[in-house]
Amino acid sequence: MAKLLKTAIQAIREKGIANIVKELKEGEFVRCLPDGNLLQTKIHNIGGRVVGVDKFGNKYYENLDTQFGRHRWVEYGDKRRYNASQVPAEWHGWLHYITDHTGDELLMLKPQRYGVEHKQNFSGEGDEYIYHSKGHALNPGQRDWTRYQAWQPTKT
């Protein structure tokens, strides 16, 4: 505890009180009060090294001093509604210890021609986010099977 306080005082001395308040606000530390998960991540962040930030604002941390298997983690960009599906494909491998290449390195290898944009899983978030298969009536991209062109009465 004493060490924590000492680090805090040192940080205030280095950055100034205004910057610290700004940082606290940007990091949404207030959200930590009702959200224990976030608080734990924030505490875990101390001493961690930011390896990269993806386009959704997720920050990827690494701290080789901690227990092996807990040394890589993510702080989600969206502090209110976050889940594991928000991690894009290029960072998934790094985060899950599949590869040591970070997402930024992998993005450089990604061909531009194909690959859809990563989309988080919106299941249970309303009609427009529920997945409908290709032939489903509610799929907006479904084929038009009408084989005739109807007369349009508005032309009169």
């Binding site: 005739y148 062109q149 109807a150 007369w151 009465p153």
Partner: protein, 752 residues
């Protein structure tokens, strides 16, 4: 170059020379390994030896003639006997070897031979062996002689076919996978049946520039095998000299001599007769494969001829229309309008009942609401203010339902458009093509009065053309200037000429009087004229003068314009009053798009029941969607009095219903329920009114009542006859909605 290769070449050339001079020598020399034999069957490698070898005489079981081929003996004493594969067959003199084989039940492969065209004999595919003949003979061009011994499955004949097939395939591209003819290609089928399994051709194939024949026929001229069927069809059946053969040898190509489109109303038939994929349908290109299609044998309704057609559909869509054989009506041709109108069935369709709101806009409603409103208005107006008009494409079932419904509402103002005022529905001979379409071939003088058969009924015109070609029949024509594809004398433009002929003052009278079977063809466009009774009485007197109507020959013909006309007159759809439109308060249009609605009172309530948003919908208050001819079962009577039935090929679009069902439902809502619930019921009702309509595919000739007609006191005007059809390609709601027909009228009619 190594010595071995040189030796190889030398032996190749020597073997080629061998092949030229003495075929048997190479075959006898098994050590000559470089001459790769084309024959896939080992016994063919030594054809002569096999032929010489004593053959075990096989006893063939009697085979049935091909495709129901029947032999007609005009003179029994001219019958001759020939032997096909050892089996005796009796045929009349003058038949070709190929026809004799057909009668014997042996199918000879052929490309250039077509039974309805002249004989060319240039494809050589039909080679057969004839005993005591030094070479195989082309059976399509060889007349059969008495006692001829024809052999069709000997090694010599088989080898000849294989050789011909190899030459044909030499310059034929291997593009069957991208060819529209694939699957129904004669060359494909026959190369499987009679061809070899390999070819020796290693050079570059020739290629030919594609020709532009207009918006209907797509050409891939590299695929052409120069059978000249299309050239012969164009000159002999279509009667246009557009196509021809250019160049000779390997530079031979089919084409229009100068860059021009094929201006014939029968041009689509070259697609059917082309044995390969050189001429294919442009609108159908790359749309479907023929084995995916479901065929429905039905009837065409775009003109009054009632050509027999086959609608090929895939799923919900009509993919193409092709002709069906009917010797009495359309032989095996159909007009371009019939063949290519099908894309009109997919455009401008009415698919929901609609009601015009107070703001003048149409709103889709349910059937219940639409019928309730129509019935409410129909019950409010006076019975004599109710008027019904049946359209050009109506079937007999819906017309009798409309008439019954209106009669039960208390009105008898119902007619079919195109029949004119006060139509003659009493004497069937007064509105039918009495000598029948095939009977026109017996005529030797034609007098066309106010009709342009080339655009009104191309199939009838094809018959006249055939007759003119066959027995040099004379054709006289009275009417507005038009073009004919046979020799035709334009006698005049109006009733004045008609009077001159009736009084015997015209030079054409001598031809008419000298004729054995004179035929007068009167156009149905005259029915619309005010003075039609007097014109028809003049025509009657001409008929009497020329002895046109006899017990054995009725040459006084009326050529109708629309599919519904004959049946409507048979069913008695005759209006009670002449000017019912002017006083109508409730007008029921059953697909009628060509009625003059200018004189209709502005407060009249118009119900349009039909399948296309065409002319009349813009005046309608309520729209009831109905099914088109490709979607319903209906009876149509053609212009010669032959009743035929359509069959549904595809399901109806949207919420549309059959015509007679709509009227039946409406009658129930209006409280005057019609007593039939199904087609059998409505047909039993028809059998009371016009039983001939139910004798399907049978022509019911009209009885001759020349003296029954009342004398006419009407004054004849001198106004010349006008043409009944302005645009051949667009005559009804389906063809007017068709894009292909619009292209045709833009590119083909403007050229004239």
């Amino acid at each position: 170059m190594g010595f071995g290769v040189l030796a190889l070449r030398a032996s190749r050339t020597s073997s080629a020379i061998n092949r030229c001079f003495s075929v048997s020598r190479i075959f006898a020399n098994p050590s000559n390994r470089h001459s790769r034999s084309i024959a896939s069957t080992p016994e063919l490698r030594n054809a002569e030896a096999a032929a010489e070898a004593p053959q075990t005489q096989e006893i063939h079981p009697p085979r049935t003639p091909l495709a129901g081929a029947r032999v007609h003996f005009p003179k029994p004493e001219d019958a001759i006997e020939v032997f096909v594969d050892g089996f005796p067959v009796t045929i009349p003199k003058g038949m070709t070897v190929l026809q004799a084989c057909e009668v014997a039940g042996v199918d000879i492969p052929r490309f250039c031979y077509h039974s309805r065209l002249s004989i060319a004999g240039n494809c050589r595919m039909c080679l057969v062996e004839v005993e005591k003949s030094p070479k195989p003979v082309a059976s399509c061009a060889m007349p059969a002689l008495p006692g001829m011994k024809i052999k069709t499955d000997t090694p010599v004949a088989k080898k000849a076919r294989e050789g011909v097939m190899e030459f044909l395939l030499m310059n034929h591209p291997l593009d069957c996978p991208i060819c529209d003819q694939g699957g129904e290609c004669d060359l494909q089928d026959q190369s499987m049946a009679f061809g070899s399994d390999r070819g020796r051709f290693t050079d570059v194939k020739r290629s030919v520039v594609d020709k532009n024949l207009g918006p209907l026929v797509k050409t891939v001229m590299t695929r052409c095998i120069q059978c000249t069927r299309c050239v012969r069809f164009a000159t002999e059946v279509a009667g246009v000299q557009d196509l021809g053969m250019l160049g000779r040898g390997s530079g031979e190509e089919i084409g229009t001599y100068v860059e021009k489109l094929m201006t014939s109303e029968l041009s689509g038939n070259v697609i059917d007769i082309c044995p390969v994929g050189a001429l294919t349908s442009k609108p159908f290109a790359f749309k479907a494969r023929n084995w995916e299609l479901k065929a429905t044998e039905t009837i065409d309704v775009t003109d009054a001829v009632g050509s027999n057609i086959r609608i090929d559909s895939r799923g919900l869509e009509v993919m193409r229309i092709i002709p069906r054989l009917n010797e009495d009506i359309n032989e095996e041709w159909i007009s371009d309008k019939t063949r290519f109108c099908y894309d009109g069935l997919k455009r401008q369709r009415l698919n929901d009942p609609m009601i015009r709101g107070p703001d003048g806009r149409f709103k889709s409603v349910s059937w219940r609401d639409a019928l309730a409103i129509v019935a409410e208005v129909a019950l409010q107006v006076k019975p004599e203010e109710i008027v019904g008009v049946a359209g050009r494409l109506s079937d007999a079932e819906s017309m009798i339902a409309l008439k019954d419904f209106l009669n039960r509402m208390g009105s008898n103002n119902v007619w079919c458009e195109g029949n004119g005022v006060r139509p003659n529905a009493d004497l069937r001979s007064g509105y039918l093509l009495n000598s029948s379409i095939s009977g026109l071939e017996k005529a030797d003088v034609f007098l066309l009065v106010g009709t342009q058969p080339r655009i009104e009924a191309p199939m009838v015109n094809a018959r006249i053309h055939k007759t003119v070609r066959a027995n040099h029949a004379k054709v006289g024509y009275i009417g507005p200037p038009t073009d004919f594809n046979y020799n035709c004398k334009n006698l005049g433009t109006g009733p004045q000429t008609l009077l001159e002929i009736a009084e015997g003052r015209h030079p054409f009278c001598s031809a008419l009087l000298a004729a054995k079977n004179p035929a007068i063809i009167v156009g149905a466009g005259l029915f619309e004229r005010k003075d039609k009774d007097s014109i028809l009485s003049v025509i009657d007197s001409i008929a009497k003068l020329g002895n046109v109507v006899r017990p054995d020959w009725n040459g006084l013909n009326f050529l109708l314009l629309h599919a519904a006309q004959a049946a409507s007159l048979d069913l008695g759809l005759v209006p009670e009053s002449d000017n019912s439109i002017e006083s109508a308060k409730f007008l029921y249009l059953m697909g009628a798009d060509d009625v003059e609605l200018d004189e209709l009172p502005s407060d009249a309530f118009v119900v349009y029941q039909g399948h296309h948003g065409d002319r009349s919908v813009y005046r309608a208050n309520v729209i009831l969607p109905a099914s088109a001819f490709s979607e319903k079962e209906g009876t149509y009577e053609n212009t010669e009095g032959c009743s035929q039935q359509t069959l549904p090929a595809v399901p109806t679009v949207g919420d549309a219903r059959d015509d007679w069902k709509i009227i039946r439902a409406l009658s129930e809502v209006a409280g005057v329920c019609l007593p039939y619930d199904n087609l059998a019921g409505i047909r039993s009702r028809i059998s009371v009114v016009a039983p001939n309509l139910l004798r399907v595919d049978e022509r019911e000739p009209a009885l001759i009542h020349t003296d029954l007609k009342p004398d006419c006191q009407q004054k004849m005007s001198t106004e010349p006859f006008s043409s009944a059809v302005d645009n051949f390609y667009m005559t009804d709601s389906i063809t007017r909605a068709s894009k292909i027909m619009a292209q045709c009228s833009a590119s083909l009619l403007s050229k004239k």
